[in-house]
Assembly symmetry: C2
Homo-oligomer: 509 residues x 2
């Protein structure tokens, strides 16, 4: 039986653009994993990793026009957004190069012998080593930043782990082009091309997670797809870490005082955030608690004005479009739900942004309305009108885990007069990132970033954005009583590499 073809499709027309590749067979997946494993040695030197990552960024920038054109043709996200996303992707690659140079993530700890301890302490020296081949499952909605050269790949390579990417079917042509660029960068530093494998196809994704030589996985996508892969990772004879980012409602609470003070600004800001990228962000605000009454009405009016001024947009593929149209219709049909600006199909290929409103009391009792507490991917948000802080709290207490939770406060509340601290304490258990007077869309690439949260936001306690993402691909190993002559330089007393470390209990930087 011939392998199924992989087509690049234009979501603006639904037409096939070109035949890119064939779906990977079990043999193809095995070959990609073995080639990646063979490239481990070349990544052992942190300086080589750093140089490779920087060259990759340089070459992606050099190929920008061609890559952005392909990305736009496959995603309809537009050249401006995609040019920015490519810049972000290159910044991310260089950030992990900097971290590889610094070496703090090795977490070096050195203890000298202490015979007075119970039990006695021998000479013990610990650092972190790469886990092995990492499987990366690319996302639909960020063809650069969460795909072949995205954060999972950059952090894994920075940690010293070769990568096999399972391409997202929404941008197979771009995936092939980016993989070629990365392999060219690898070759420049003597790293085998196998360091970056690329496979296509649903079945290949399952074969990959089950491959005995795959040591860990990163995933960004849906709850359904992510959970299936998480379950497969856990069911292996030897289970492996599965760092999946699955889904998030990203609740927003607008206090009564904030609504009174700046209803229009908050409403307009919400309109901008929920329609950004045609609502196709993991951190799109999907549930907004707005007070009942006149100030809240003004907020909803400003939201309607902002969303109403947004042109119809094209979603990433027709499957998502169908799911969006069906999802908003199902939600709009629930008792008590109104659609002041109905989201849905605009024409055969585009969708219209919109929002739904519902009394918050409908969300505290369970039943059919729980659908409103599930993510609906695309340009829609649910505005829940609450009466009194207790009702807002009651809704928040029913939410599953989220990537973000946001509160908009009045100036007085932000200054510490009022319930601000109490609200932050309420939001912290719900999410991995808590925002005040800001919008969750636009995830900065920075050391303090945390892009993760309680399940189903993520399947682990880790982040896929920001410097600490590298920690996912490492494991500690301790060397006991090892002669100086055999120690890796990272663990020698004289610290020839100048690494930050914990030395006989004291932190040294």
């Amino acid at each position: 039986m011939a392998a199924a073809p992989v087509w690049s499709v234009d979501p603006r027309t639904g037409k096939q653009r070109e035949r890119v590749a064939a779906e990977a067979t079990a043999e193809d997946v095995d070959a990609a994993v073995r080639a990646a494993r063979g490239a481990r040695g070349a990544l052992a030197d942190r300086a080589v990793r750093a140089a490779f990552l920087r060259t990759a960024a340089d070459r992606l920038e050099a190929a920008r026009d061609r890559l952005v054109a392909t990305a736009d043709a496959e995603s309809a996200l537009g050249p401006a957004r995609l040019t920015g996303e490519l810049a972000r992707t290159c910044h991310q690659l260089r950030s992990f190069a900097d971290l590889a140079d610094e070496g703090a993530f090795l977490d070096v700890i050195i203890d000298h012998p202490d015979d007075t301890a119970t039990p006695p302490v021998p000479d013990l020296r610990r650092y972190k080593v790469p886990l092995g081949v990492v499987a990366v499952y690319a996302a639909s909605n960020f063809p650069f930043a969460f795909s072949v050269a995205g954060g999972d790949t950059a952090s894994a390579l920075g940690a010293g782990c070769p990568v096999v990417v399972k391409a997202h079917p929404d941008h197979p042509a771009l995936s092939e082009q980016v993989a070629e660029v990365l392999r060219g960068a690898a070759a420049e530093h003597g790293v085998p091309a196998g360091v970056l494998g690329l496979v296509h196809g649903f079945r290949a994704g399952l074969d990959l997670i089950r491959h005995p030589l795959v040591a860990a996985a990163g995933f960004t996508g849906s709850v359904r797809g992510g959970r299936a892969l998480f379950d497969a990772a856990a069911a292996r004879p030897a289970p492996i870490p599965f760092h999946g980012e699955l889904g998030s409602l990203n609740p927003v609470l607008v206090t009564e005082a904030a609504a009174e003070e700046r209803a229009e600004a908050v409403g307009a800001g919400l309109a901008g955030s929920m329609t950004l990228g045609t609502g196709q962000f993991c951190v799109k605000p999907g549930l907004v608690l707005v007070p009942a009454g006149a100030p809240g009405d003004r907020l909803v009016k400003a939201l309607a004005d902002g969303v109403g001024a947004t042109a119809p947009g094209v979603l990433l593929d027709h499957r998502m479009r169908d799911a969006f149209v069906a999802g908003v219709a199902e939600r709009a049909a629930l008792p008590g739900v109104e659609a002041p600006l109905a989201p849905g199909a605009a024409d055969e290929h585009t969708v219209r942004a919109g929002f739904l409103t519902v009394p918050a009391a409908e969300l505290t009792g369970g039943g059919a309305h729980d659908l409103l507490l599930e993510e609906c991917f695309g340009p829609v948000t649910v505005v829940a009108r609450y009466s009194g802080a207790h009702e807002a709290t009651a809704v928040l207490s029913r939410l599953p885990g989220n990537l973000t939770a946001t509160v908009h406060l009045s100036a007085d509340e932000a200054a510490g007069r009022g319930r601000g601290a109490e609200i932050l304490a309420e939001l912290t258990p719900l999410a991995g990132r808590v925002l005040v007077d800001a919008w969750p869309t636009g995830v900065a690439v920075a050391p303090a970033q945390h892009h993760g949260g309680p399940y189903p936001a993520t399947t682990s306690t880790s982040t896929s954005v920001g410097g600490t993402a590298v920690e996912r691909w490492l494991r500690p190993v301790a060397y006991q009583n090892t002669p100086e002559a055999l120690l890796p330089p990272e663990l020698r007393d004289d610290n020839p590499l100048g690494l930050p470390r914990r030395y006989d209990g004291r932190l040294e930087r």
Copy 2:
């Protein structure tokens, strides 16, 4: 139906000592978890946690004679060993108090806004917060150090997480006594007694891992029991981290040069390590690669002398005794396996230590001999005689993950002349701790310790011993654009708590 009684049993006689408690019903488990959850707030202050842990250590020491007597009556491990183990346990509690005071594990990272970045960086401040209620599954073989007041409990409390312990059925009376001591310590610092729950019974263990308010689990025990709980944790509607230490063969390689140089010392050292605690250590050396030929013969002779001089001992319970007797018999019956000193039953309650020998070539082909590559709990080790380094490598390459891997080198090899570095590189992928010219038994409580390893040694990349064990019970949260007035003190620019942190990219200590 009345709840099943829980009996304390004397393994020296097999007789019931006293009725300690009843097995916990689903309602009991739910009540314990809810009580633990209610104690979270009292642990929010790191100074309170530290004081509580230190008082717990003081009170355990004050109750030493009573506790050691109970532990000995239930475990037959002997007062000397148990007195040492209690000292280790108290040291461990105080170590986590010190870490709670220091606060480095909060991993504070602060970034100030940077509008020139792509995308722009807002004010972002990240630290780690406690995960919530932790379930701890106590081990059989360390009634103090891996039980109610053991490393999992100490690290979880240090992280700010209340604990519900599933008691090990081999020491229910001691478990109740230790829990009472910990609750007394808690009360002294205004921490509710629910901070340390204790439940008995197999079914209660499953109810506990499935409880929606349990946020993570620590386990030390068998591959079979640990995997069942791991699977249950992964199958939850919202999966939770399961940090299990399941099983380990702990391979030892003796080089030809080391055997030539000091066969007798290595043989005697091995005898001491494999019979320590009647062979009931997770890190007992279970497979030893010894060169064929005269020096190796001398090593085996010294091993036989050492083991032969060991008095018969009592295993922790009769189930383990039966499994040991059956396990060694099944292994000894394999073709090519010899038993120069046959391990097995000595009388109705005690067992005799011993060892088996086998040509290493039998271990490279798979089949029935793979049984020799599985842990056999109790005082037995398998000596595999190899011809040439390639044969030793071939056996090592077939091993699953281990807690430890050890090599004994000659003085020349240890000085860097010979294959020492190459052998360390071969052992590193196999284990979480690599030892040179030492024995794996005796796991130091120290910052650089790593007690974990590739599956099945552990189900995660974490450690259950040493300072970094605390990382298992925390998750990061980032605060974006949060006014100074609402920030926790840990995240303020002026660093009022003097915490080590990463500040605008730079490490500060």
